[in-house]
């Protein structure tokens, strides 16, 4: 069988493209450190979220130099904290979000970023996020959760490091 040299060329280019795709994803995971949300956050009794040590008084807590933990409860139709009071974190910090739901499936998405997870009752979604610059971000619920779903939103305020005086 005779294969034209052009055909050989684009067969090779096609294989190269596939290798390139795989290399890109590998680079994202290894080079840039992009991670997936997995089951590391553990489980929780969804009926007892308000009695849980971490979620009874959710909010931001400092756990180390430039290291913070944010516990957030999603419920119909608000983020606590987030909706009534913004989640406040300092710039130049690594924040680990622990998000859970006390009623139905919600979403937690920092608008315009890849920080996005489902919030499933009984599961704790854990996400580590690095905030470099002071900025205000929106949070939205992106899983239909009831009649007020379209109003379920909140705010994250990344404040300059020097101005930071405790989370929400």
């Amino acid at each position: 069988m005779e294969i034209h040299r052009f055909e050989k060329l684009w067969l090779a280019a096609g294989i190269l493209l596939i290798v390139g795709f795989i290399a890109t994803v590998t680079y994202g995971a290894v080079g840039e450190g992009v991670a997936m949300v997995n089951d590391d956050g553990g489980t929780i009794d969804p009926t007892k979220v308000s009695e849980d040590a971490n979620f009874s008084d959710p909010g931001v807590e400092q756990v180390g130099p430039h290291e913070y933990e944010a516990h957030i409860v999603a419920q119909q139709f608000l983020f606590k904290p987030g909706t009534s009071t913004p989640i406040r974190v300092p710039a130049n910090s690594t924040v680990t979000f622990y998000v859970t739901s006390s009623d139905v499936v919600h979403g937690f998405n920092i608008v315009g970023t890849n920080v996005n997870t489902m919030v499933i009752p009984g599961q704790v979604a854990k996400m580590k996020v690095r905030f470099e610059e002071p900025r205000e971000y929106g949070i939205v619920c992106n899983e239909y959760c009831g009649a007020g779903h379209h109003t379920m939103a909140g705010t994250i305020e990344v404040v300059p490091e020097d101005d930071y005086e405790g989370g929400a």
């Binding site: 005779e2 840039e32 450190g33 970023t113 890849n114």
Partner: protein, 410 residues
């Protein structure tokens, strides 16, 4: 709840027949017609509140209780009763019944605020109403469902609408994205008028309370920071006044005395996009004043990224046409577009022009075998598709995915 349903329909009937049938109603339903007559003008506040029927008269009582989580609005998303009239100095106690999830009580103009929403039965929140007026309030998480209420303090209520207020100034679309704007609050005749910076509104504490105020010329307006919603400032659209850079501290004040009549639009720069905008109307006129102000919200901004994206889409859609044009130019055969020139030795065997003249249609039917295809044409088509793939790949992963700010790293 049947009471809610009958209330809604009776209201509709009353509304539609108010002009014509007052006399007919005067007999059997005199009581409710009279109540309707003295009902304050809530300005559409209760349009989507299923359990609102009329303002319940609780005047003369020291303490009035309102249930939070009452049945209504397709669930337990209501205040019971939705609207009450109380005497000045009355303590209103909101009592959570634990139904319908987490609720809170937030005044539309920022007068009172129970804080973040809680679900526990037995929770209470109280506020003593000293000043006469109509106080609208709502539950933040369930406002869209119709969980709204009002407390009317004193007399016949009616808010500012009874005295024949001056016409509402034309703000253009300045207030189109300001959730807490609900008409211009009349504060004329006062020496000093206070505006809260950080009032509840626009999905957080990103509002001026009240958003629009009418004052007399010579009035000193004092903006007072309540410390909520982050750092704010007060900057006039036309530069008349400017509080400087944004500050967050509660108790901060900024004042400006308005001597000239007109409409002064102002905003908090950090939160302008969220709808933190206000206006001061000086004098009873109002007209157009204030000029055209800011650019219309929501207009498409052609960022380089957007341009690149739009360009690739257009190019992608045009690529087949571009390619065919390219092919025709390459073969230089506008006159004989369907004729493919086989490679190599075959060229020599190509029939001379006369054949083409004799049977032009047959030329179009030339069969192209596997070995007779046009290698350059196919190759260039594939190159074009490769380029599109590579551009989309790079755009998707490196611009759209990796370039999106903070990301999950663990």
């Amino acid at each position: 709840m049947s009471r809610a349903d009958s209330g809604a329909s009776r209201r509709a009937i009353l509304r539609s027949t108010a002009g014509l049938a007052t006399a007919a109603l005067a007999g059997g339903t005199a009581g409710s017609a009279a109540a309707q007559g003295s009902e304050p003008d809530y300005g559409g506040w209760f349009d989507d509140v299923s359990n609102y029927d009329e303002t319940v008269d609780k005047t003369g009582q020291d303490t009035v209780e309102i249930v939070v989580g009452a049945s209504g609005n397709n669930g337990n998303f209501a205040f019971g009763p939705a609207a009450v009239r109380v005497s000045p100095g009355t303590k209103v106690v909101w009592k959570w019944n634990g139904k319908g999830g987490a609720h809170n009580v937030v005044a539309d103009d920022g007068t009172f605020n129970s804080g973040s929403a809680v679900a526990d039965a037995g929770t209470t929140f109280e506020y003593t109403f000293e000043e006469e007026g109509t106080y609208k309030y709502y539950c933040v998480p369930h406002k869209a469902l119709g969980m709204k209420g009002a407390v009317v303090v004193g007399g016949s209520g009616g808010g500012g609408s009874s005295g024949g207020p001056p016409p509402e100034p034309d703000y253009g679309d300045w207030f189109s994205d300001v959730s807490n704007y609900d008409g211009t609050v009349d504060e004329t005749g006062q020496d000093t008028v206070e505006v809260t910076v950080g009032a509840s509104g626009n999905n957080g504490n990103f509002a001026f309370g009240p958003a629009a105020v009418r004052v007399s010329p010579g009035t000193k307006v004092v903006w007072k920071w309540n410390g909520k919603g982050g750092a704010h400032n007060v900057v006039a659209e036309d530069g008349t006044f400017d509080s400087g850079s944004a500050v967050a501290d509660a108790g901060t004040t900024f004042e400006y005395t308005f001597d000239e009549t007109g409409v002064y639009k102002y905003a908090c720069i950090p939160h302008k996009a969220l709808g933190m905008k206000g206006a001061i109307v000086v004098g009873s006129g109002g007209g157009g004043g204030g000029g055209e102000g800011g650019e219309p919200a929501g207009e498409l901004v052609w960022t380089p990224g957007l341009l690149m994206f739009a360009g690739s889409v257009v190019l992608g859609m045009l690529s087949p046409i571009l390619f065919s044009v390219f092919l025709r130019f390459k073969t230089g055969s506008w006159e004989r577009p369907r004729e493919f020139e086989p490679e190599g030795a075959v060229v020599d065997e190509k029939p001379a022009a006369p054949v083409a003249e004799e049977a032009p249609e047959e030329v179009a039917e030339v069969e192209i075998g596997h070995d007779e295809y046009d290698p350059f044409g196919t190759a260039s088509l594939i190159v074009v598709y490769f380029l599109i793939l590579v551009v989309l790949w790079i755009f998707m992963y490196f611009v759209e995915f990796l370039g999106r700010g903070p990301t999950v790293i663990g």
